[in-house]
């Protein structure tokens, strides 16, 4: 008792443990670690950036130095060119490195090829920044790994109990059933260029579909990269006019970025059935608004069950919730006795899937 009184209260707390906010906190550029003087997924060019994965709202060009998985670096290079950063360094999942006063390690996030969660440790506490993640099986991405931590920073893209992603293989069966029923029409599958497109194609292959899959030009480089990493995608053909046998791709499956469907590009196809592979397709009105005829609920983000299960699995006593529907996940944490608050990071798309 007497000894405790000898120390001022603040100093006492400092010695016992560091507060999580001292280890990581938000700045306009993104999530910042003062001990290591680095940002995680900064939205503006910074001195030192740690990048979780290659989607453009997380991986931006122009940082002085970048630390990321080998695959993420390769994807950034494909997208932004050789000079996407001053210097870059690859880190393997599971490997721990010291940056300034903090220890940092990367762990698979299951989101897209090369995606990782980033664990930051110092002063006896560990914070895991999930980036984007999913728990569903995906042959094009390493499985999510649970990293026990004190604070878990989770994404919340699908942070509402209404989001329940069905088994992706079942969704692909619906696509194939439709293609069999409407052989005179082209099935146009909207899928984002990094991750979703390759997953859809791979799911088609796993379902036994062996016809060529026709792809929009925006997908070419990334598909080739996935294939060079040993992910089998089968025969891919450009969806160009000179490649159309009957002239209009009737009966074929074409994969392209969703934005291209509203474009004049889409006019070359025979009475297309517009499909869209996204977790948003769970909600009928979203499908209707976009003019989607065949919604495919395939997501590279976790659904509500995956998000809440993951929070429990990490054993975190505190949860910070970012981009998406924060309020429902914070509410769920409250009900379950876990401290939680929204983390207001700006600059991330909470609609991309």
């Amino acid at each position: 008792m007497a000894a405790a009184k000898a120390f001022p209260a603040a100093a006492n707390r400092y010695l016992q443990a560091m507060r999580p906010e001292q280890l990581l906190h938000t700045r306009p550029e993104g999530l910042f670690c003062p001990l290591g003087d680095f940002f995680i997924d900064p939205v503006r060019p910074v001195e030192r950036a740690l990048i979780t994965h290659g989607h453009s709202d997380h991986a931006r060009a122009g940082h002085e130095s970048v630390l990321a998985t080998r695959e993420t670096l390769a994807i950034m290079k494909l997208r932004y060119g050789d000079d996407f950063a001053g210097t870059s360094q690859a880190i393997e999942c599971g490997q721990q490195v010291a940056i300034g006063g903090a220890k940092v390690s990367f762990h698979p996030a299951g989101h897209v090829l090369g995606s990782a969660q980033i664990a930051v440790e110092a002063g006896g506490i560990r914070i895991v920044a999930s980036g984007d993640y999913k728990r569903q099986k995906d042959a094009t991405s390493a499985d999510f790994e649970v990293v026990p931590c004190d604070v878990f920073i989770t994404e919340a893209t699908f942070g509402l109990p209404v989001f329940k992603h069905p088994d992706a293989a079942g969704e692909i069966r619906r696509l194939l059933a439709s293609a069999a029923a409407f052989q005179e029409r082209t099935h146009l599958v909207g899928a984002y260029a990094l991750g979703k497109a390759q997953r859809v194609i791979r799911l088609l292959r796993d379902a036994g579909y062996d016809r060529p899959v026709f792809i929009h030009g925006a997908l070419e480089k990334l598909c080739a990269y996935y294939q060079s990493e040993g992910i089998e995608l089968g025969r891919l053909e450009p969806a160009t006019l000179d490649n159309a046998e009957g002239g209009d791709f009737a009966g074929e499956i074409v994969v392209g970025p969703p934005s291209a469907f509203a474009d004049r590009w889409a006019r070359r196809f025979a009475d297309p059935v517009s499909a869209f592979a996204s977790g948003w397709m769970r909600i009928r009105q979203r499908a209707k608004q976009r003019g989607v005829e065949l919604p495919l609920i395939i997501s590279d983000h976790g659904d509500w069950e995956e998000l809440t299960r993951t929070i429990r699995d990490t054993g975190a006593g505190e949860v910070w919730v970012t981009h998406g529907r924060e309020e429902a996940l914070v509410r769920w944490c409250e009900i379950n006795g876990i401290a939680a608050r929204p983390l207001n990071l700006v600059g991330y798309e909470d609609e991309g899937d």
Partner: protein, 531 residues
């Protein structure tokens, strides 16, 4: 149940009529009895259960999920049935399984008002998400999948390569799950007998009179009568059963108790349903609309807009079927028949005497009554044949109204048109002459050629002001804008539209690239048409 749920999900998102037909025909062909029959009845609106109110759904949700999370969810989804189907615990393990539709229908049919919530809950536990949604929609009434009963029957006709009118004729005498009907369509049984009284008889329809038709026709062969602007109905009574059918065979008796009351005959009359006091007072289509699509009609409404039928034809009188007789003879019988009826509810459609088509043309251009929308031509010797045979009957409609409007918004189409801005909202000028504003007066998505569609699409892309999802607002100012000549059949008052008017059957008739936007019509021009 899963296949039915999947069918509903596809139908609701499919815009093309042919694709809808194919989805339904495929389903009906590959689904066993009795499930397919119940599915058909659900789509045609011939299934009904003890209603479950939205409050019950909310309560069921609140027992299973935190109310705050439920509120967030409902707020996001916007549809109670869909929200409940999604937040209901479990379900993935039921995927592909669950009870068949027929069993679900039996279970729901046996439910009373008091045990319906518990029965519904037990059922939802057994189903996956799409099936839950389908069941909730079934019990709350109204699938709202954009498929009319007529289209469903059309799909059914596709099973056996027969005309849909044959199905309509027997429809009201048969009940779900229609096993005998399917057997007949698939060539495994006889056509179901007309067993019930007062069945619908398929209606005879007319072709529009084309410019070059007239030269080939002899005026002496044809009777002419006014084409009244109401809704075509069939009033039939037999063995004490009295029914009013729409021209597609939907039973609309419930909305017209005043008219049903006046049916004192045994027979089948084809005519136009109108409101007013015949023969001198005939209300407009706007007036008639007050009486349409209502579940119950107040006494006040019945007194203000009394319904009556202007009789065109007589198909049956007592036991006698008149349909094989020539029109001239049926017409005489009709005139006799109507004499015996309540004159405030039934009157005879007058014939128009004429010698030449030129004479008729001038009558058509200036009809004696505003509720006339053209002229019908019927061969004196024509039998009453179901469907739309070419030759015996023609409709010669009054020329459409035209207005020059300015393109304001464009929306992307569906299917083939999904890369085109093909649905147009247009407006006319209002406000002071020196500072006019556009007010939207209608929406049209046809009437133009494929080439014109491309031109408008390009115009929209080049002149976009703002984007809202699939909609773009287009630059539209007195000095800059695209003028569309819009044709329409009539104008109704509307409290739902800012302009106060709603067009009937609007379509684009011409693109007026040459016309400055500032010279498009003003709202006053339209308002003047209302009276």
């Amino acid at each position: 149940m899963q296949r039915f749920a999947e069918l509903l999900d596809r139908l609701v998102l499919t815009a093309s009529r042919n694709a809808k037909l194919k989805l339904m025909t495929d389903y009906l062909r590959s689904t066993p009895d009795p499930d397919r029959g119940y599915a058909l009845a659900a789509i045609t609106g011939d299934l009904s259960f003890t209603g479950v109110k939205p409050g019950v759904l909310r309560a069921l949700g609140a027992e299973r999920i935190d109310p705050v999370l439920f509120a967030y969810s409902y707020d996001y989804v916007g549809d109670l049935a869909e929200t409940l189907s999604l937040v209901w615990p479990g379900g993935e393990e039921n995927s592909g399984g669950g009870p068949p539709l027929a069993q679900v229908v039996d279970t729901l049919a046996a439910a009373s008002r008091s045990d319906a919530p518990a029965i519904l809950a037990a059922l939802l536990d057994e189903l996956d998400i799409p099936a839950r949604f389908a069941v909730i929609k079934l019990v709350t009434g109204g699938l709202r999948i954009g498929v009319s009963a007529r289209l469903a029957k059309q799909a059914l006709a596709g099973l056996g390569d027969i005309d849909v009118s044959e199905i309509e004729e027997i429809w009201h005498g048969i009940e779900a799950p229609y096993e005998a009907l399917f057997a007949w369509l698939e060539g495994k049984g006889d056509k179901p007998e007309e067993s019930a009284a007062a069945l619908f008889r398929p209606v005879m329809l007319a072709h529009p009179l084309a410019e070059n038709d007239r030269e080939k026709l002899d005026p002496a062969d044809y009777a002419a009568e006014w084409k009244w602007d109401g809704i075509r109905v069939q009033v039939t009574a037999e063995a004490g059963v009295r029914r009013i059918y729409s021209r597609t065979g939907d039973d609309v008796s419930g909305a017209f108790p005043d008219l049903v009351e006046a049916v004192t005959f045994d027979g089948t009359i084809d005519g136009e349903l109108l409101v007013g006091t015949p023969p001198h007072e005939t209300g407009s289509f706007s007036d008639l609309q007050q009486r349409l699509n209502r579940k119950t009609v107040s006494a006040k409404m019945q007194a203000r807009y009394p319904a009556f039928v202007r009789c065109y034809d007589l198909l049956r009188a007592g036991e006698e079927d008149l349909r094989a007789m020539p029109f001239a003879q049926r017409r005489e019988r009709l005139a006799d028949f109507v004499t015996g009826l309540d004159a405030s509810r039934f009157d005879l459609s007058p014939l128009v005497t004429f010698e030449t088509f030129e004479e008729l043309e001038s009558l058509r251009q200036s009809p004696p009554h505003p509720v006339i929308e053209g002229i019908m031509l019927k061969r004196w010797d024509s039998t009453y044949a179901a469907g739309r045979p070419k030759g015996p009957w023609f409709k010669w409609k009054r020329d459409p109204f035209l207005v020059d409007a300015v393109l304001m918004y464009a929306q992307r189409g569906h299917g083939k048109r999904s890369s085109f801005y093909s649905d147009y909202t247009f407006g006319v000028w209002t406000g002071p002459e020196n500072a006019p504003e556009l007010v939207p007066v209608g929406k049209a998505y046809f009437g133009f050629t494929d080439d014109e569609l491309k031109q408008i699409d390009k115009y929209v892309r080049d002149n976009t002001v703002e984007r809202f999802g699939p909609v773009r607002s287009v630059r539209a100012e007195p000095g800059h804008g695209l003028v569309l000549e819009v044709a329409f059949e009539g104008l109704n008052r509307s409290t739902r539209h800012k302009s106060g008017v709603a067009m009937r059957f609007p379509r684009i008739s011409r693109l007026r690239w040459d016309k400055p936007a500032g010279e498009a019509d003003r709202l006053e021009t339209l308002l003047a048409l209302l009276d």
